[in-house]
């Protein structure tokens, strides 16, 4: 085996130029794989984190039927007890209790449908951080009476300015239409098209007063310290309060889950494409190397080297190439991820388009450590797969014919 390893290792350096081409293609293949995985991870995380941080949070609690039709009278049962409970739970970083209804927003120029949230700004900003996303005006910090914060795009659509007047119309708890006039305190510029285009935030007291809800709320949103505790927290809340509906972000926004699985499938397709390209590169080079050494391989078999050893020698040569190229590619990929993970990738040139889909304009690619191992395994597997045909070709040669090859 030692001699086989020696021969295989020396063989790959017989044509250094050719070996460097294979090693180079392995390095580029791995780097591209790591980069694309990191980029897609960053893309996915940016999208999901954006949705969780600024829109839906990790967990939401509602009346079980509330989300069927957003009926305003379906207020959350056990609200006080739930709030007391979660206040003491160290796993919950922040929470926000909101009133919520659908209605119309009208400016002197235009009217459109809107989702209206009645919030406690101090509580809300710890969950959704909307105070950091105000593009113009303030986050309920002005002295305006009946302040309202709306999405930037909605403001443009309604053609209102800061301190401009809008009227909200919605049903009260008895299903009568009620209205209230509000002055725009600020515009939100988030990564969520839903918030930017069709959401309005007013004070909970204002909404509850107009709708006659008293102190009731429709939704409690929870932001967790550690997303991994999501299931435990949900289980506890659901068992303590069976009359409410406790949902995770996955069921609240199933499109995120779908997006995750689609990205996953896309990544496998990507891995497959890169692997196939790599396999053909390896087959091409190794086949050339085998055909060039036909007479030598014939001699080895003539003097008594069995086919298993010849096969192993060719496979070993390919593995050595991947063992040189693999770690190098992984190292360059790791360095790229380190650098881009810190500095981020500025995609502001495409940010308009990206925002339409809920992405932030700066992406932070990242890759989990285990993925590097996966990539390493994929490379070794690819190299092995690429070696099979040339090795098969080598053992199928006829020593007598091969010995007379010029």
């Amino acid at each position: 085996m030692k001699m086989l390893i020696t021969i295989a290792w020396r063989n790959i350096w017989r044509s250094p130029g050719r070996s460097f081409v294979v090693i180079g293609s392995i390095v580029v293949g791995i780097w591209a794989l790591i980069f694309m995985l990191g980029f897609m991870n960053g893309f996915m995380i940016s999208y999901i984190n954006g949705a969780i941080q600024h829109e839906i949070s990790h967990i939401q609690i509602h009346h079980p039927q509330f989300k069927d039709d957003y009926q305003i009278d379906l207020i959350l049962p056990n609200q006080k007890a739930i709030l007391e409970d979660i206040q003491d739970d160290e796993r919950i970083r922040a929470f926000s209790a909101r009133s919520l209804t659908n209605g119309m927003i009208a400016s002197p120029r235009k009217a459109q449908g809107v989702r209206i949230y009645g919030i406690l700004p101090e509580m809300e900003k710890r969950v959704t951080h909307h105070d950091s996303l105000v593009s113009e005006g303030t986050y309920f910090a002005s002295d305006l009476k009946n302040p309202i914060v709306i999405g930037k795009d909605l403001g443009e659509e309604l053609k209102v300015k800061i301190r401009g007047k809008v009227v909200l119309t919605f049903q009260d708890e008895k299903h009568n239409l009620v209205s209230g006039a509000f002055r725009v305190a600020g515009f939100l510029d988030t990564t969520s098209p839903m918030i930017n285009k069709s959401t309005a935030y007013i004070l909970k007291d204002d909404l509850n007063r107009i709708a006659g809800l008293g102190s009731g709320v429709h939704e409690i949103a929870l932001f967790l310290e550690n997303p991994e505790t999501e299931e435990v927290v949900m289980l506890k809340l659901q068992s303590n309060y069976p009359k409410v509906l406790v949902e995770s972000w996955r069921s609240i926004a199933p499109e995120l889950e779908l997006f995750l699985s689609m990205t996953d499938s896309f990544l496998w397709v990507l891995i497959l494409i890169i692997m196939i390209a790599l396999i053909f590169g390896i087959i091409n080079t190794m086949l050339m190397s085998v055909l060039e050494r036909f007479r030598e391989l014939g001699m080895l078999m003539a003097v008594g080297m069995n086919r298993v050893r010849v096969f192993a020698m060719i496979v070993l040569e390919t593995i050595f190439l991947s063992l040189v190229g693999g770690p190098l590619g992984i190292l360059i990929g790791w360095l790229t991820m380190k650098w881009l993970g810190k500095s981020g990738m500025d995609l502001s040139n495409y940010s308009e388009g990206l925002r339409e889909f809920g992405y932030s304009s700066i992406l932070y690619p990242f890759i989990e450590t285990s993925t590097y191992w996966t990539v390493a395994l994929v490379v070794v597997f690819t190299a092995l797969a690429g070696a099979l045909y040339p090795a098969y070709k080598a053992i199928k040669l006829n020593p007598t014919e091969a010995l007379h090859t010029v």
Binding site: I7, R10, R14, R295, M299, V303, G304, T400, L403
Partner: protein, 235 residues
């Protein structure tokens, strides 16, 4: 069982025929070849190009199978062996010397000599000792760590011969071993092989049309059109 040379028969071919079907017209390379080679012979198989010398050598060496006939080597009917048994048989019984030397270019002279012994799973100590001894005998001790590309044609062929010899084969089959060598190198090589034949009793069979080889051979088998025309044993 004695041959015309009064030696124990170690190779016996019976009615060997070989037909190649590579083109539309079948080519009869060998026809009814009956040959007995005794232990320790120094035999040259000669004949014009296309007479079947190399084919016969390949069949004797188990590299090729006859279309018809039987071949016994040291009591083993090698025409009945399968591919892997043949490889194993060659490894332990036959040494090959080729016209093109066919050394492994990435190994040093010493590693080349050790190579077949390694396949035979000999001990490191034995390989080391035998390789150095043989390199010394052919005057290449100082070239032990040199790769074939740095050796002359004659030196490479000497390494090829001792590579074949190192594995202690029963026979050495040499296909046109001197074809690429100048006179001095060819004579040197032939002397070396004759000495090994005398001292170690190894059977040498050459396929050649080099007169220098024919002159040194103690038996000359002449092939023509795939058949044995003459079988001359010299004193």
């Amino acid at each position: 069982m004695e041959t015309a040379t009064d030696k124990k028969v170690v190779i016996r071919t019976r009615d060997i025929a070989k037909v190649y079907h590579e083109s539309k017209i079948p080519v009869q390379a060998l026809k009814d070849v009956d040959l007995e080679i005794g232990e320790g012979e120094f035999t040259a198989i000669v004949g014009p190009s296309g007479s079947g010398k190399t084919t016969l050598l390949n069949i004797i060496g188990g590299l090729d199978k006859p279309t018809d006939g039987r071949i016994q080597i040291g009591g083993t009917d090698i025409s009945k062996l399968n591919e892997s048994e043949l490889i194993d048989f060659r490894l332990h019984n036959i040494g090959f010397v080729f016209q093109q030397y066919n050394l492994i270019p990435v190994l040093t002279a010493k590693e080349n000599v050790e190579f077949i012994m390694l396949l035979q799973k000999r001990s490191k100590h034995e390989m080391d000792e035998r390789a150095m001894l043989l390199l010394d005998e052919v005057g290449l001790k100082d070239k032990a760590d040199v790769r074939p590309s740095e050796l002359s044609g004659g030196q490479q062929q000497r390494v090829a011969v001792i590579r074949a010899l190192a594995s202690r084969p029963k026979f050495i089959l040499a296909d046109e071993p001197t074809a690429n060598l100048d006179s001095a190198s060819a004579n040197n090589l032939l002397d070396m092989m004759a000495q090994m034949n005398r001292e170690e009793g190894i059977t040498f069979i050459f396929s050649t049309h080099d007169q220098r080889v024919i002159d040194k051979a103690r038996r000359v088998v002449t092939l023509e059109d795939g058949m044995i025309k003459h079988d001359e044993v010299r004193g």
